[in-house]
Amino acid sequence: MTITEKILAAHAGRESVRPGDFACADVDIALGNDITAPIAIRELEAAGIETVWDRERVVLVPDHFTPNKDIASAEQAKVLRDFARAQNVTHYWEVGRVGIEHALLPEQGVVGPGDLIIGADSHTCTCGALGAFATGVGSTDLAAVMATGKVWLRVPESMRFTFTGERGRWISGKDLILHTIGEIGVSGALYRAMEFTGPVIESLPMDDRLSMCNMAVEAGAKNGVVTPDAVTCDYVKGRLQRDAVYYESDPDAEYVETLEWDISGLEPVVACPNLPDNTRPVSELAHVHLDQVVIGSCTNGRLSDLEVAAGILRGRVVADGLRCLIFPATPTIEREALERGWLAVFMDAGAVVSPPTCGPCLGGHMGVLAGGEVALATTNRNFTGRMGHPESQVYLSSPAVAAASAVTGRITHPDEVVG
């Protein structure tokens, strides 16, 4: 079996499962946010279900439209807060403590290797980087899980992606996943599991693994997963509030498709409007002028992302007329960036530093685009109107390309700025 099949079998109380099987699985962690959970709460109330199955395993994160962007959002955040209090939910964070859910949960040790994680947010697949099965669902699915602690899942076929060769100076997990989506397309892994393996992945830091699994859904996948190893053990040590269970794929595990790429010489990758699979090497896009650069999100708002950005922006300034927005993903990350002097670097460069929120990634608030404007973002989607006006455009890249481009005002290879 693959690692995905093993985790599903274990949670379904079965010796084994095969792709295509339906499994009724026990859920370790159920996640909702200020946009998706209010509908789930309404569904629970309509069904007359008064208490959640396990208050320590229902996780509620007000991260999308917080700090409240308007009265309607404030009302939704209040629905979440009132429910969390009434149910005495253990894992609820108020503004000031809250971060972007897919960065916050691994950081705080709420999720770990071997877990089965169901979240009413499509980027729940991020946590597969820990060697867990994590997948996004909608609000009614979340309501059912909150009621019963169980979920029906069809066991996905697995695709294996093997990365070999030398990872270049500016090549991050974001470049690897953009490359992958560019190769297979936005429905290239539809309903499937994406398993990332090979020597490049084995030496890849956890932040980059999280970026990769985060965008598995942009290829249509059910989940992304990395086999837990020493990097995983180091990451969860001192964080995880439960025992980790480590799974790995059997040598004879079956894959519906296997792809292998030697990434030596790969250029930083940029996804052009209006789909994440519309990828090009950064050097082909030097003519694209930018109105806004966004560095942050559940994809790339972690400490190492800010470190790369600070390294490039130190002693430099943001291009005239360009707005550079930096969104640390959690308060712990923001605090650490403060201690290390990076927030001062950003402010000296003329960038603005925001509190942790999903904010502009989904065109929510704090950086919405006007008609005709062009942004480069380290986020995960560049659909029509994703970041604001339907006639605005979004390009996607790594933090290194985003920071370099903020300096020049157009899409730029980091080498051009750093030398």
Binding site: A47, A72, S122, T140, G385
Partner: protein
């Protein structure tokens, strides 16, 4: 169910079905008023109750927002017919009992404004304008049980009570 076809392309995403600027509300009528707004601003004005929405590959890709199928259902669309569906949208539609049909051959045949008749239970679809008829595979038993119960929460409740 029978209605006029509104035709869209591949990879219609949830940001187009219901843009995030409207996710600060959950009432179905409000969401319906902005359904498909960023793909076709005139859609809501043209759509009549019972009409069908037709699309290509990977319909509903992107976010997990259940606001998307809720908006489509509340806009009066009786059925979504596509070549394929993104997985979270597929689950969400089943869970709220919005009929969806994967039938690439029918998508190939249907043009904007065609009259289409669908019987999901029988797995039959007719383009009344061209006269062509199509069949599609019925859902698996697991999914049919959810639909028969009237949606996921009703299904869950019946099992919790039992």
């Amino acid at each position: 169910m029978k209605g006029k076809a509104h035709v869209f392309g591949d990879d219609v995403n949830t940001d187009e079905i219901i843009p995030a600027r409207y996710l600060n509300r959950i009432d179905p009528e409000f969401l319906a008023a902005h359904c498909m707004e960023d793909a076709d601003p005139e859609f809501v004005a043209r759509a009549a109750p019972g009409d069908v929405l037709v699309a290509g590959e990977n319909f509903g890709c992107g976010s997990s927002r259940e606001h998307a199928p809720i908006a489509i259902k509340a806009a009066g669309i009786s059925c979504v017919i596509a070549r394929s569906f993104a997985r979270i949208f597929f689950r969400n539609a089943i869970n709220i009992a919005l009929p969806i049909v994967a039938c690439p051959e029918a998508v190939e045949d249907i043009r904007p404004g065609d009259q289409v008749e669908v019987d999901p239970a029988k797995g039959e679809l007719k383009n009344l304008t061209t006269g062509n008829a199509f069949t599609f595979a019925p859902f698996t038993k697991e999914i049919q049980d959810i639909i028969a119960a009237g949606g996921l929460m009703a299904f869950v409740k019946s099992r919790m009570g039992g």
